[in-house]
Symmetry: C2
């Protein structure tokens, strides 16, 4: 069995969190050291197996490199750089389609988003309720992906990436890095 197939089987069978490089190596009957040699950890192997066009570690590094008060802007800009490319767009749409129709795919996606992407950014901000914040930021980005690439809502399709980034940056900034206490004391 080829390693990427083994990885896909492991991730879709057990979800992202419960999968391990060791188990994937065993499925492919190779030495775990070899898997480690070719893939820079579980996140990178997942990205490769799922045809996600970027190593999540680089993505998170790009988002976290820079002043805290612009983390929302960097997050949005990094995503749209990838998504607006022909390859990125196609893979994103495929990922959403499969998460919407298969529970296995939904589980992999939510665990991956929570653990490696939005969760990592939210945790590094050292704010209360990082997981809920990660979910709110992810909801805004997935909703934009739906409107721009899947449902095709005209004004969102025709806006430039720069316009969308400018509109969404304060939203992500608030979810990920700002004080939410005032908002959370609801009547």
């Amino acid at each position: 069995m080829e390693i990427l197939n083994a990885a896909r089987n492991e991730f879709s069978g057990k979800g992202y969190d419960a999968s391990s490089l060791r188990a994937i190596a065993r499925l492919d009957e190779v030495d775990p050291e070899i898997v480690h040699h070719y893939f820079d950890g579980k996140a990178a192997l997942f990205a490769e197996a799922m045809s996600i066009p970027v190593n999540p570690l680089f993505l998170i590094d790009a988002v976290l490199a820079g002043p805290r008060e612009r983390v929302g802007e960097r997050l949005a800009a990094t995503f749209f750089d990838i998504w607006d490319s022909a390859q990125g767009r196609e893979r994103l749409v495929a990922l959403i389609r499969s998460a919407v129709s298969h529970e296995d795919a939904a589980r992999m996606l939510r665990e991956f988003l929570a653990r490696e992407v939005f969760g990592k950014v939210a945790l590094s901000m050292e704010v209360p309720q990082p997981h809920l914040r990660a979910g709110m930021a992810a909801s805004q980005m997935i909703g934009l992906a739906m409107m721009r690439y899947v449902i095709g809502f005209e004004p969102v399709v025709q806006a430039s990436a720069e316009e969308i980034v400018a509109l969404v940056a304060p939203t992500l900034q608030r979810y990920l890095a700002d004080d939410l206490v005032g908002d959370l004391t609801v009547g």
Copy 2:
């Protein structure tokens, strides 16, 4: 042909904008007056035909009734009232699944959202770029629907509707009613 079937055929064939009560009546071989008698306009017939559990006119009335500075909160609260009910949730998930897999359904949904739901709220705020604002607000709500009901991202699933409303209200408020000029002058 029964009137709701006729409506579904018309809407999925022509999209929401190009469909008319007159043409639907003709498909069903009934007098348009009769269709008008039973359905309070195109939006109401669409909602009925698509099993949307609420008349969009009532929804918009509820959102617009009250102070402008809390329109985001009322919009979020109105949606989660519907979506968190068992019937609302089931129909919402069906609507998203079908929009993600069929272009006809995607077109109906985007035209309906633009014309009757988010578009109406944004237009009534008398702000610049109402259509792009409607798209941004819709993206946030669709993304939350994805995370809470389709993908099942735990922290967003487990939060109460009140918590989610409090978190998302300032986002919707900004998209729909606030000054965006500062945000739109990007470097």
